[in-house]
Amino acid sequence: MTTVERAAASSAAVGTPVLDVRDLSVSFTTEGGTVSAVDRVNLDLASGEIVGMVGESGCGKSVTAMSIAGLLPDSARVSGSVRLEGTELVGARESVLRRVRGKEIAYIFQEPMTSLNPVLTVGRQIGEVLQVHERMSKRAARARAVELLSLVGIPSAAKRVDNYPHQLSGGMRQRVMIAMAVACGPKVLVADEPTTALDVTVQAGILQVLRDLRDRLGTTILVITHDLGVIADIADRVVVMYAGRVVEQAPVTDLFAHPYHRYTAGLLAASPTPGKHAGTERLQEIPGLVPVLSIQPDACTFADRCPAADARCREAAPPLEAVGTAVTDHLAACWHPCPAPRTQPQETTA
């Protein structure tokens, strides 16, 4: 049994995996040649789990998310396997994918300003999903849309249902997006930067709605973000991506308490911690940028930015292995994992 399989088995013990991603690789054909965006990513989502996927811009988070339901443009080449309760989605026919999209796997996108159609009422846009997947009449779909709007905490939903997106605030629009996403009771909800474009106060409300959905409907949620605060707030488990690879994966408290991968440690050091950074200490940045790769090298892709890198890091890619002693579901892909806990086990993440 490999460590990956062990990790999968251990989370399967928590609940049955709803979504099982194996060796997912995505590359794009562009005018400048091939660009590898995702490299052999493994990911499993247990039922009712909230998994946070974190990393810098350009590290392949969104591409991974989009490839789950086959939403990438034609220029993308996808290999590997994405199974939704046993149904293979990579390479599946469009008609199969259409039945999955919106019904089994639903999406929430970053920009609530542009992700809604400006010329249709929100009720119509929510109702559309129900008409397609639940074969509801227009009238029934509208009535259900009102219920959904109140479910996601929109006041006077019966009035709002006839509003156009431009008549709503950013937070309300994102709630509409969520209402639309959960309309058919999807098994998996993929939230791609759901709070990035919103005010902090509005952000907390949106995260609360997502948590409620998991608690009430048992929806499995994959939250993609570059904001560690969001991860700490909502996720049960964290997957850290770098340059198209999963470099570390752990339950949220473990990760914040003891990041093993140098990249994760760098990310955490770059986030302000109350008390520590309020005074004298400066935030630490990670020097350099995420590389754009045409092929995935057999080496650690973080080596060029890593303080601990040596010859070995540039010669062989570190496997994603169990690290630490007590916990087995903490995996990291690093030849030189951080030795000791960065800080005391955190109260700040609670």
Binding site: L97, R98, R101, T114, L116, N117, E128, H166
Partner: protein, 318 residues
């Protein structure tokens, strides 16, 4: 919404009045004396004076204008200097021809242009797009009087598919009417179709790559629903604008097309009137054209607000 409509209608009325003034003065600024044209052989000062008096041309301009506006308001455009027939009755025979020709041309151009534009955007980089682009280039660059002559030569004379000229009123013989008018309408619509196609294509390309179309796909909608409901509808605003702007070109195009196909419409009437300095007819023609412009612009504005809720400017607050 009601206030917006009222404001918009008031602006239209004002523009209409101004265009009446311009039309009235413009015609009088044309070189040449209509009395001379009417007098024919007898150019004695007495005869000219009598003619001027008969047509009110000896009155001061403001009085002529006031009389003119008063009559126009009652639907009386005066009597043609050339033929002696009331202009209003000339219009009732000529106007339906031009209106039918233009409407049909717009309908054909819109159907063809929007269809080809959508196809070109959806099938980007494939033969369908190249074909649509090529046809649009031809439609834009070939002058339609030449295209009209070719059509008459090959389709009417050689193949005998359509009558080469002439016209049958719609109410008298609908099928014959359509048979006569469809070819001129196609010819008149080609340029417009090409422009609409190109605008639709670029608007669709932008719409198809927008976030809300991604959302629509993520909802599991069929491609047809994504394209029509979520991309095309948002692109239509561009198309409506273009159609509105191009209508001027369409009206002048109709003049030429009517000449080529011998249709007894507005165009023929206008050309005859200009050559004869037939003031009442020219005034009526220009005024009606201006009115058509104003009305169409008003309709375009209305359509905007139907298509895009964000343009319901003074609508109820959110």
């Amino acid at each position: 919404m009601a206030r917006y409509l009222l404001t918009r209608a008031w602006h239209s009325a004002l523009t209409l009045l101004l265009s009446t003034v311009v039309v009235f003065l413009g015609v009088r600024a044309l070189p040449g004396d209509p009395a001379l044209a009417l007098a024919g052989e007898d150019r004695s000062p007495e005869a000219l004076e009598a003619i001027r008096h008969h047509y009110g041309l000896d009155q001061p301009l403001p009085i002529q204008f006031a009389q003119y506006v008063g009559r126009v308001a009652q639907g009386d455009f005066g009597v043609s200097i050339r033929t002696g027939i009331p202009v209003s009755s000339m219009l009732t025979t000529a106007l339906p021809v031009t209106v039918e020709l233009s409407l049909l041309a717009i309908l054909l151009a819109a159907a063809l242009g929007v269809g080809a534009g959508v196809l070109a955007a959806v099938r980007r980089g494939r033969p369908a797009e190249w074909l649509a682009n090529g046809l649009a280039l031809v439609g834009l660059s070939v002058p339609h009087f030449w295209l009209g002559l070719l059509a008459i030569l090959y389709l009417s004379v050689a193949a005998g598919l359509f009558p080469a000229s002439g016209f049958v009123p719609l109410l008298q013989d609908p099928a014959g009417n359509l048979h006569h008018i469809v070819l001129p309408a196609v010819i008149l619509g080609t340029g417009l179709a090409a422009i609409i196609m190109r605008q639709t294509r670029s608007a669709m390309l932008e719409a198809l790559s927008s976030d809300h179309v991604r959302t629509a796909k993520a909802k599991g909608l069929r491609p047809r629903a994504v394209i029509t409901r979520h991309a095309l509808r948002n692109s239509l605003i561009v198309v409506v604008t273009i159609v509105g702007l191009q209508l001027g070109g369409l009206i002048s195009g109709a003049v030429v097309t009517e000449q080529i196909f011998g249709l007894p419409g507005f165009g023929k009437m206008t050309i005859d009137a200009v050559f004869q300095r037939d003031y009442p007819v020219i005034q009526a023609v220009v005024l009606l054209t201006a009115t058509a412009y104003i009305v169409i612009n008003f309709l375009v504005d209305l359509l905007y607000s139907v298509i895009d809720p964000r343009i319901r400017v003074t609508g109820e607050p959110a």
